[in-house]
Amino acid sequence: MYTSDEPTRDGRASADADVEPTDDAATDPPTGAHGDPDATRAATTRDGDGKGDGGAADGDADPVVAVRDVRKTYDLGGTVEALAGVSLTLPAGSYTAVMGPSGSGKSTLLNLVGALDTPTSGTVEVAGRDVAAVEEADRAALRGTEIGFVFQTFNLMPRLDAVENVALPLVFAGWDRDRRRERARDLLDRVGLGERYDHRPTELSGGQRQRVSIARALAPDPAVILADEPTGNVDTGTGAGIMRLLADVNDRGTTVLLVSHSRRIAGHADRIVHLRDGLVESIESIESGESGDGSAGDAAADTSGATSDDPTRGTAAGESDEPAAGGGDA
């Protein structure tokens, strides 16, 4: 389903997908604004707007990620419940932020959605596949093809240059060398690092490293990008650029799950899932321009139309057994 090399996904209108990389698109609010009239989409409102002009209404869109009543406990000399029954769906093309204090279960949730871990109970489906039901090798393949990680600490391979770093997921996915290098160069061009193909991470600035990391996350054309505090290790100005880039990625149709403890950063998303003590505390929809600090707010506005979430699904574990909700399980 998400195997196309073309980054634009689904049926989103080319008019929207036609955004320029980075700054231009992100700073141009009208480009992506679909005029979603719901200034404040209440958490309980089932928003049918979905993809806006893409026409992908909730009803027909398979969620890219479906987390159902997930519990995760760790045995650390006493059972610690990191997640105590969380449900969450990420519709295709959505941009969701997860916020919460330390110990709220953000990282655990991210690890589960990233198929790095399996839940103690409940199910996590990524791109239609239950991550707990497959072999470790298949889980690795799932990570390599359907999930793109963007880490706070970049996590680039120190001995590989930019092109090789970006191409790394494709190595494990079995692409041949020429194709993956071409793909890596295209992506580096797209994130504005066309001049830095053969630079190693140590020869790049923090912002540039994070761009390489985003390009790497995009390399296999994943179903979802997981960004864990992507601006945590860069200065504010650079961070804004990173957030614009993520917004652009989302504009092009890639589902994004952002984890941050910063309200300002999380505000770039279409909605914010607040976690506390392993439970979803609330889900908040972000309005265009709501987070008003300059470009960051623009980016949020730019992508607001891509939201097609079903907030109720995440609010309580009790509701997660409603398979038809939002058509997410179809």
Binding site: L116, A140, L160, V171
Partner: protein, 417 residues
């Protein structure tokens, strides 16, 4: 992932730690080089010895009475034991009649007290006596073979320098027997060897003198079969039909065991042996092979040390690169890929060690053969084994580290600073 990419990444890892990789490889180099050196040197010595032995006629069957295997522990059929004169003239004649036997050459020692040339006298306890047939034409370096019944002597080249004045063909020697009886003999020839000379007997550069059995050999015993005194020899050399050496040897052995005077005359703790030079070669080869294996085994220890070095450095590498492993796993590397990567790296270290160790080992073996004055015989099988073992050592040493790498938990690894 494709093997080429695996190799590329492994190569890069190895090259990124040049000193460390070099030292690790050095361990393998030393191991492989020692194995190759020892094995090649062993093979060279063996080939040299064998060629030396085989140059003496392969169709000679040596008959000896030697201490039994379960006797004084002098070894089975050893040719250093006290030689007993057990083969009578009757035995010689009987053996000549056996099918496939071309000639029977008796050989014995004449006890003497000294040899004199001009004014110089050298003490000597015995001189070898044999028949003219034992001196083949191609063994004669100068002059000719002695004739039966004549007071003549042939010598080897070392004997020409045994006296103060150089001896040469045509000179006269005085032989003083143990009894004090002196006989003057003429040096009629110089020979390089005589048939019936046991393998290795020609190795030493000792002066040797050969007299005709007739008239010099006087050791005699009573033939049990005939009841008369006859000349008896401690050693006979049966020259067999080259096409039928084995069968002739069997018939000779049968005669020795069943009807010979020798069987009667030999002390009970002695055994009669009939051996061809091939038998000697086999035994010598066996001994050298054993020694070579033993020393090679010791050399293998250094190879094991090299393997431990690889395992050690790979474990360090896994720990150091925990984060990288986590990254790779996060972007889709399966456990298999991680194992493959680390095995490739360890294998590469082994291969590099083998590639560098092989020529060093060959060179060292070559040097050793020159030093030991034996011909250099490369042992390609051992070369292949050494390289194979090098790769294997790398892979085996890399197994555990690679397994550890594959078990790295990506969640922990990504948090790893």
């Amino acid at each position: 992932m494709e093997p080429r990419e695996t190799l590329r990444i492994a190569t890069r890892s190895v090259r990124s730690h040049k000193l460390r990789s070099t030292l690790t490889v050095l361990g393998v180099v030393i191991g492989i080089a020692s194995v190759v050196t020892v094995a090649t040197f062993g093979a060279s010595v063996q080939a040299d010895v064998v060629s030396e032995v085989e140059s003496s006629s392969a169709n000679n069957v040596y008959l000896l009475a030697t201490p039994d295997a379960d006797g004084d522990g002098d070894g089975p059929g050893g040719f250093s034991g006290a030689l007993q004169p057990v083969f009578t003239t009757r035995d010689v004649e009987q053996l000549r009649a056996i099918e496939g036997v071309q000639r029977v050459l008796p050989r014995g020692n004449v006890p003497v007290s000294s040899l004199s040339y001009r004014d110089d006298t050298v003490a000597r306890t015995q001189v070898t006596a044999t028949t003219p047939g034992a001196i083949s034409a191609d063994a004669v370096v100068e002059g000719r073979a002695f004739r039966a019944g004549a007071n003549e002597v042939v010598v080897n080249e070392a004997a020409l320098r045994a006296f103060e004045a150089n001896l040469s063909v045509g000179d006269e020697l005085t032989i003083t027997r143990g009894s004090g009886e002196a006989t003057t003999v003429e040096v009629v020839g110089v020979v390089s060897r005589t048939a019936g000379q046991l393998p290795f007997a020609g190795f030493s550069g000792q002066p040797r003198f050969f007299l005709p059995v007739d008239p010099f050999y006087r050791t005699a015993v009573e033939s049990p079969a005939l009841g008369v005194n006859q000349a008896a020899y401690p050693q006979l050399t049966v020259v067999a039909d080259p096409a039928r050496v084995a069968s002739t040897k069997d018939r000779v052995r049968t005669y020795l065991e069943t009807g010979s005077d020798a069987a009667e005359l030999k002390p009970s703790s002695f055994a009669l042996t009939a051996q061809t030079s091939g038998d000697f070669v086999d035994r010598i080869e066996e001994i050298i092979t054993r020694i070579t294996r033993f020393v090679t085994g010791i050399a293998v220890i250094s190879l094991i040390v090299g393997a431990v070095g690889i395992a050690n450095i790979m474990l360090v590498s896994v720990t150091e690169r925990t984060r990288e492993i986590g990254i790779m796993k996060a972007v889709g590397a399966r456990n298999r890929d991680v194992i493959q990567l680390f095995l490739a790296e360890a294998g590469l270290l082994g291969v590099l060690g083998a590639i560098a160790g092989l020529p060093i080992g060959i060179a060292a073996a070559y040097g050793a053969t020159i030093y030991a004055e034996v011909g250099f015989t490369p042992a390609p099988t051992w070369f292949a084994i050494a390289v194979g073992v090098g790769v294997l050592v790398g892979l085996v040493a890399g197994l555990y580290p690679a397994w550890r790498a594959a078990r790295v938990d990506p969640i922990d690894a990504l948090r790893y600073e």
